[in-house]
Every structure is written in C-alpha cells, then in structure tokens.
C-alpha cells in the first residue's frame, strides 16, 4: 500500500474548499462567534516587569452596572514577573463596560527591580527572575581540538551575531469563548490543538474529557503559540460558571498579545571559525545565549544545518538567560532561524577572509553524508538545490567579493547572499480519520484536527477525491471539532504528514468495504472494481456513475474509522533540506535595505496540494524577511516595559516591502516516493541569514545585529575604521 504512483488530484493545484468562506468574510472565526447571552470578557495585566501584588480591590468594578463577574488570576502576596502578566479578568454586558471594570480594579504593587534585557539579567547582583540564577554558564560540548585547529588555520574569524526577541503577532489574538454550564464546558477557541485543548481544560476543572468540547471552524494564525487554553481561557470558563453559564468571550487586546502570548527567543552568539586556503573549515567554536523571558527555549544548534557536521573541531556552549519578559513559545521552526543566522553568517565571514566564493566554501564543507528517515542522504539533495537556487538568482553573474561591491560608485550598493536550512516535518502515528460514504453519493472525511491556515480541509478533500475518483469539491472535510476522531495538533509541520496517511488508509478501507457491499450488483468481484472520473469501472469498463453505484448501498452507508498504523512509514517521512538566496540594494547614506529578489528551493516529500504548498513557502519566506529587516520586541531597560506592543512600531512587511520571490519545489520522483512531509516551517528558516549575508556582501562589512534596520546597518558602516 502506498500513495498512487500516477495521482490525478494529489500534487495538483486545488483551490481551498473553504476559501470563499474566508474571502467573503462569512465564515465565523472563534473571535466572531456570539452564542446566545454572550458576555464580553477582558483581562487586566501588570504594568510592571517585576512587582509583588500587595492588594487587589475589585469592589468598585463589581458595582459597575453591567459587570456580571470578576475573577482573580493572581492574589495578594504573589509576584508578577513581566509587563503583561495576568492580574484579573472580568465579564460584562458590553466590551466597553468590561474595559471600564478593568480600570476600576485597584491594584497595589510593591515594585521590585527588574531585568528585562539580557545584559541586565546577566549583571552581577541582577534581580532574580526565578529561584535560581538568571544565567548558568552552559557546559561546552567539544569534538576534536578546536584550540589547536585555530592556531594552525590560514584564517580565523571571530564575531558576535545577534537577533532580538520577536513575537508571533497572530492576527486573531489568543482567546476563546467559553460556556461552562451544567458541569460541561464548550469552547470556541482560536487554537492549533483542537484535540488536545479540551484535555487541558478537563484536567484544570477536574472534568471527564468527554464533557469538554472545542470548536475551531477556522482560526486566525498561531505559528506555534496556540496549543493550550491559557490562563485567560481558563478565566473565561470561570467567569462563565460565575455568570450562571452565560458564554464569556475573552480575546486578548493587541498589546497583551505581544506581551504575554509567546515570542521567539533572542540569540547572541560569539562564533569563532577557522579554515585553510583551500577552503576547508577546520574549526568552529560557539558561545551562545538568548532569552525566552520567563520561559526557556533559547538554546541553538551549532553547526547548522547538519550538513556541516563534518567540521572536525567544534566547541559549542549554548545557554539561556531568564529575563522579566513574556515567556517564549514555539515559533515557526523553533531554534532553527537563530541557529542558521549564527553558522551561516560565520561561514560567509570566513569565506571573505579566505577570499573564497561563499557558495563554493559551503559545497566544500558538506559532510560525507547527512542521513535522515528512510535512509535518505541530504548531501546530494543540498548539492542539487544549491545548483538550482544559484541558477535562479544568477549567482555566477552577480557574486562579487565584499571589497568590490563596497567600492561600487554611488550610495546604492548591491549584494547577494545565501543560506541553508533543514527541518524534520514527519508525522505522528495513531491519528484517526473517519470516512463515510452515503447512499446519496456524498462522502465525508473527518478528524479532530484544524486548519491553521495551511489549507488542511482541502487536503482531506484531495485525498478523498483521489481514492474515490471524484473531484475535491465532492468531498466534505470535517475538522475543527474535538468530538471527531483524534487528530493531530499543528506543531512541527506535522499536521499534513500525520493526517494524510490516516486519511488515505481510512479512505481506501472505506472504498474496499464499498466494493464488497456493491459487488453483488456488479458481477460479484470486488477485486475487479476501481473508481475514476466519477465512475465505477469493472474490469476497466465504466459500468455505473458514482452516485448510481452508491445507491446500491441501500439504506446503510459505509462508515470506517482508521489510522495509518504500520503503513505510516511508507506514507510519510521526516527530514528535509532547503536553501535560499537573496539579492539586495542597500543605501549606505540612509542604511535602508531594499530587497530585490529572493529564491527559495525546498523539498518536502510528496506535495499534496501544490497551490497551498506554494503559499506556505511564500509565507515562510515573507516571515523570514520580516525577521531579517523589521521585527524587534523593544524592551525599555529603565521602565521594564515593552515599548512597541502594537502594529505600527512593531514593524511588519507591508505590500510595498515584498520583493520578487521565486520558489522552486524540489519535487523529484525520489522525493515523492518518500511520502508526505510537512512544509510549514522549513521555508522560513534561512531567509534572514541569506538576507543578512546579502547585506554584508553589498556594503562590505558584516551587520552583526538583526534586524537589518537603518540603525543597525549604519552602525555597522560606522565601525569600518577610518570611514565612520
């Protein structure tokens, strides 16, 4: 059993089955639903980075006409540990009244000294974020003898590179609408975990799992930050209970979304790298830290990606610093973009020092092999991909060493850069899909997974259409309801590789049962039957339309629930490569970087829907260029507050910032044979590193700090001796 060798629907471009619902504004997001009697909730959060809550007085708030319930999220004596930490939540008849109620809550704080930046937190006598020290020097992991190798090298480059904390900026903020009535909870949640979220609520409220139900018809972005109900979701349940079972809606405001709903940790890494004149990287050492605020997750992978693991002498120490900032959460390829920036910047800087084309230097330092699932070696894949990308960006024609680009006449300098990445993207076993074939010819596939924006619903329709010889719009895909069979959470690019094998196996099992049931009407041999083009074929002769064949089921349809089980390994795989290239124009008088072109080459096994696959790769690249040029959470060392918890000073690319983007699907027969692999994360990994390398190539000096903002570019230019 496997994916069809010559698929009719899988791999083609299929419009989203729910596209018109979204584009017409008619589909209801969790933040749009308004169950009967709904109250509006709001959350009060700490204005201080570090304080003891001395007292909370909600009496004035409770007396406000229209306020129905108040719930404390902390209590006197407890600490708040970041600007945005929870204090209390209210439910009221209108959102305006709910906000008034927050303003009427009197909280007395004993403000404590804070440490919101990495430097503050690592200083001697820094206020502690948690029980232990904010920073424990990590133990270094050493291979070979880096110190000796540094001494013997022809060139050694040492530099400190950094990227700031950025936030997810989900356009639909975190939140849910909850109804807690008669001992049962119903939530309409903006979540990437329809199957798991009810379990978490059930545990919190000590309810049987069956008594908590989650609906997520669609949701407005998660990027790794929406796996649980969160404190405010629990508060919505509590408020609903206090309000006698009236539903309560709590969605964060934009500021709290930035402050409390997750972020990508910063990275600050000192990298020393050495090589020989003939282009062999002989040693690399890395001393790295970053902050995930009050949570962890800031460590990195060095060297990155694994294709450089052949570097013989390596020392890596990667640690974390706790700060008084909102906790990090998984964000689109957690750890990889930071890791990529560190290694790929250092490799470019070494290439410059050695006088070698950085593309050539990379090719010369690939490991002997880089084996991933199914015994697939990524080394030849990288070689192919780099050749494709280099051709598409015009590397040969456009690459010049930094020294040359810098001397180009006029203030606009042009440069080119590249970087490599990797990702897993394999599926989880055990996920189930229920398939129903009804006597009227309708077909449904259903599972408790969700569409985080990747087009999951359409993928189910594609697999159903493939198996039943129908068109995708003839298949009804039901997701976004926790009462459906257990489906996959959307994390680690695992949704498609988990769900599509299960969908295929379940649909094929349903088809086989269908054949067995209708066989008496069509010659008696189920093995002679096949489905294509909306028809039933027996011995390759079209014998009945799909709908006529379905009528032979009589009163009772076919219903099969199945998971991929042992076939999983043949139907999906894990471990992808990828590379990206960028050309930029930098104005050395203003420091403004203009992207000219980005090329992304990506493999991801068998592509199910080329149309939504393209969108994910474009989206990954655009996420990456945001990281490269615009995004930065700015913390004020003095007040301990985030200075830009909004969408004008927290910068994101708009339409005019988007360059020409060329994407290339590395979609070979060998890749297709691997089965389905997720693509949500890999294409966002290397964009920033490639752009950073292009900027440095253009202006002749490394811009060590992301984002490549005018300030950081001008600072780097000013560091060139005698040219400041």
């Amino acid at each position: 059993m496997g994916w069809p060798e010559q698929p009719k629907v899988v791999g083609s471009r299929v419009p989203r089955v729910d596209g018109l619902g979204k584009a017409s504004g008619r589909i209801k997001y969790p933040s749009d639903v308004r169950p009967e009697g709904m109250l509006f909730g709001a959350v009060l959060y700490s204005p201080h980075a570090h304080a003891v809550v001395k007292s909370i007085d909600t009496s004035a708030a409770e007396k406000l006409p229209g306020v129905v319930a108040v719930h404390l999220l902390t209590e006197p004596g407890k600490k708040v540990r970041f600007h945005g930490d929870d204090i209390a939540a209210v439910a009221a008849e209108s959102e305006e009244i709910a906000r008034d109620a927050l303003a009427a809550i009197k909280v007395e704080y004993e403000v404590l000294p804070h440490a919101v930046t990495e430097a503050q937190a690592m200083a001697e006598d820094a206020p502690r974020v948690a029980g232990g020290p904010n920073y424990r020097p990590p133990r270094a992991r050493t291979t070979g003898d880096p110190d000796a190798a540094f001494q013997q090298a022809d060139a050694v480059v040492e530099a400190t590179y950094s990227a700031p904390v950025i936030t997810h900026v989900c356009l639909e903020t975190h939140g849910l609408t909850a109804q807690f009535k008669d001992g049962k909870i119903t939530v309409w949640a903006s979540t990437q975990n329809v199957d798991g979220l009810p379990q978490q609520l059930a545990q919190t409220f000590n309810l049987p799992e069956a008594d908590v139900r989650c609906y997520t018809e669609v949701m407005g972005g998660g990027f790794g930050s929406k796996f649980g109900p969160d404190s405010w979701g629990v508060a919505a349940c509590e408020l609903s209970r206090k309000a006698g079972g009236r539903p309560v809606k709590i969605f964060l405001d934009r500021a709290q979304e930035h402050l409390a709903a997750g972020n990508r940790p910063s990275v600050i890494g000192t990298i020393k790298i050495a090589g020989t004149k003939d282009g062999k990287i002989t040693a690399m050492s890395a001393d790295v830290y970053g902050t995930g605020g009050v949570a962890g997750g800031a460590t990195v992978l060095i060297p990155y990606p694994d294709v450089y693991k052949g570097i013989p002498n390596i020392r890596v120490a990667t640690g974390e610093v706790a700060t008084h900032g909102g906790g990090a959460r998984a964000m689109r390829a957690p750890r990889h973009p930071q890791s990529c920036i560190l290694t790929e910047s250092a490799i470019d800087d070494l290439a410059e020092a050695l006088g070698i084309d950085p593309l050539e230097l990379r090719l010369k330092n690939f490991a002997e092999n880089d084996i991933v699932a199914g015994g697939v070696d990524r080394v030849p894949i990288y070689r192919d991909q780099v050749a494709i990308g280099a051709e598409a960006i015009g590397w040969k024609a456009n690459y010049r060493p930094r020294s040359e680009n810098r001397k180009a006449p006029g203030p606009i300098k042009r440069g080119i850069g590249m970087a490599l990445h990797m990702w897993g993207g394999g599926g989880a076993p055990g996920k189930q899909v229920a398939v129903e074939i009804n006597p009227d010819g309708s077909v449904t596939l259903k599972s408790a997974t969700q569409d985080i924006g990747t087009g999951a619903r359409t993928l189910f329709a594609i697999v159903g259409a493939e198996v039943f010889g129908l068109k995708p719009d003839q298949i009804t895909a039901l997701i976004g309801d926790s009462d459906y069979p257990p489906g996959q959470a959307s994390g680690g690019s695992t949704t498609t590789p988990s769900m599509m094998p299960a969908a295929l196996v379940a649909a094929q099992a349903a088809r086989d049962e269908f054949f067995a049931r209708i066989a008496p009407a069509y010659g008696g041999d189920p093995k002679a039957m096949r489905l294509a083009d909306g028809q039933l074929f027996v011995h390759d002769e079209p014998i009945a339309s799909w709908t006529d064949a379905c009528r032979k089921l009589g009163m009772k349809g076919v219903a099969v629930t199945s998971s991929a089980g042992p076939q999983m390994g043949e139907l999906s795989s894990n471990g992808v490569a990828g590379c990206q290239f960028a050309t930029v124009a930098v104005d050395v008088e203003t420091g403004i970087v203009k992207l000219e072109k980005i090329v992304a080459v990506q493999d991801s096994g068998l592509i199910v829907n080329r149309s939504t696959w393209d969108s994910q790769v474009y989206g990954g690249v655009i996420g990456g260029l945001n990281y490269a040029l615009f995004e930065e959470r700015v913390m004020d060392a003095t007040t301990g507050r985030m200075l830009n918890p909004d969408m004008e000073m927290y910068k994101l690319a708009g339409p005019s910032d988007i360059p020409e983007i060329v994407i290339h699907a590395y979609d070979t027969p060998a890749m297709r044979a691997r089965g389905v692999i997720g693509v949500g994360e890999p294409p966002t990994v290397s964009t920033a590193a490639a752009i950073g390398n292009a900027v440095s190539n253009a202006i002749g000096v490394r811009v060590p700090h992301f984002p490549m903002s005018p300030m950081n570019v001008l600072n780097a230019l000013a560091s060139i001796k005698g040219e400041a």
Partner: protein
C-alpha cells in the same frame, strides 16, 4: 516600511463637519472617550478637530452619556443598535450587529483588517466612531459578489489567503481600489494595499488576485 495608504482614520464627520452625526457632542466625546480615540482623531485631522473643539466650547451643547440608539446603513439595510459615544464602528458592527467580516486586529488603524467602505471610500472602522457613521452608506465584505467575477473569487483562485484573518480587509481594499481605478498597475495595487498587513505572508497571491479581479470586472 512604506507610508500607509491614505485611509481615513477618523470617520466622515471629522472631515465633513456638520450635517452628519452628533457633531455637537464632540466636546463630550473628547472629554469622555479616552486618550486612545482622541489621539487617533488628532493625528488624522488635527487642525479641523481643534477648530471644532473651539467652536464646541463656545456653544452650549447637548451632552451624550451612556448608550444612544443609532441607525447604521450597513450593506443597504438600516440596522439599529445602541452604542456609546466611544464605540467604534468596528465594535458596533462586530459586537452589536453580528457583522463580523471586518476583523479587529491592531485596533488602532495600522493593519487594515477592519476596512469597510464608507460612502465609497475605504476606512479603518476601528478608528471611526459608530455615531459618526450614521447617515453614511457602510459596505462590508459580506456585501461583495461571491460569483466568479467578484474580488473574493479572485482571492480563492490565487490562493491569496492562508489563515484568512486579514483577508476581508484586503478584499475590501481591493474592491475599493477597483471601484475608483478599474485598471490598476501592480504598483498601484501595492500602494492601495499598503494600509493592510498579512502575517501568513500571502502578498504574492493578493497582488495577482487584485489584477485578476480587475480583469474579471472588465469582462463581466
């Protein structure tokens, strides 16, 4: 970052003065509606507002408190609801009238997700007060044709959406552009959409959708 496309931040009463909405209550609005809303107005039309404030201070005015009944002309239907003076058009639509196509994302006029067409012009409904939208024709994404020649269909055809939360704002901005410029260039499309932000990164599809929608409209 590019300059934002010229999109109204304050609703029609600010720019058009008397004759619409309860302009006499402006002083009370400025007093009672909080700094955020007042700032949004001052940013947009500082001079006009200051003039009006001065005029209001000189005249004896009716004071608006609590909720008032308003009638909003939404997609050709007269819808009645009760709003506070500070209630934005967006919140009136979403929280009171169940018109949830326009989305609340930044809530301060910097992302375009809440865009509606007010008397033929795209405005950020999150920085337009509901009371000032009385008497105006308000068109939201729900009113657009979902047929093959419509803007929404062009978005679907080009997969110009992923999570879809910014999509109604983009679709509305494209519709408003095509209403005044049926034959836009790519640069004009980008310029017209610069007040909108997409986080999933669907811009490439959106540009093509806008161009395709223009073509389809001409053919229709």
């Amino acid at each position: 970052m590019p300059d934002q496309a010229p999109r109204s931040q304050g609703g029609p009463a600010v720019s058009q003065g008397t004759g619409r909405g309860p302009t006499a209550s402006r002083r009370d609005f400025l007093r009672g509606s909080g700094i955020a809303a007042a700032t949004a107005v001052v940013t947009g039309q500082a001079a006009a507002v200051l003039d009006e404030v001065q005029a209001a201070q000189e005249a004896e005015v009716a004071v608006l408190k609590g909720e008032v009944a308003v009638v909003l002309d939404v997609n050709g239907r007269k819808l009645e609801c009760r709003v506070e003076p500070r209630t934005t058009l967006l919140d009136a639509l979403r929280n009171r009238l169940d018109v949830t196509g326009p989305k609340r994302v930044c809530d301060r006029g910097s992302c375009g997700a809440c865009t509606v067409i007010l008397d033929g012009k795209p405005v950020n409904s999150c920085t337009t007060l509901a009371v000032t939208a009385q008497g105006c024709a308000i068109e939201t994404v729900e009113n657009f044709s979902t047929g093959p020649d419509g803007v929404p269909a062009a978005f679907v055809k080009n997969d110009a959406l992923m999570c879809g939360y910014c999509t109604p704002g983009f679709v509305t901005a494209v519709k408003a552009l095509l209403d005044v410029n049926p034959n836009p260039t790519l640069d004009e499309v980008k310029k017209a959409l610069d007040g909108n932000i997409c986080r999933c990164g669907t811009y490439v599809g959106i540009f093509q959708a806008a161009l395709d929608a223009a073509k389809a409209k001409k053919g229709a």
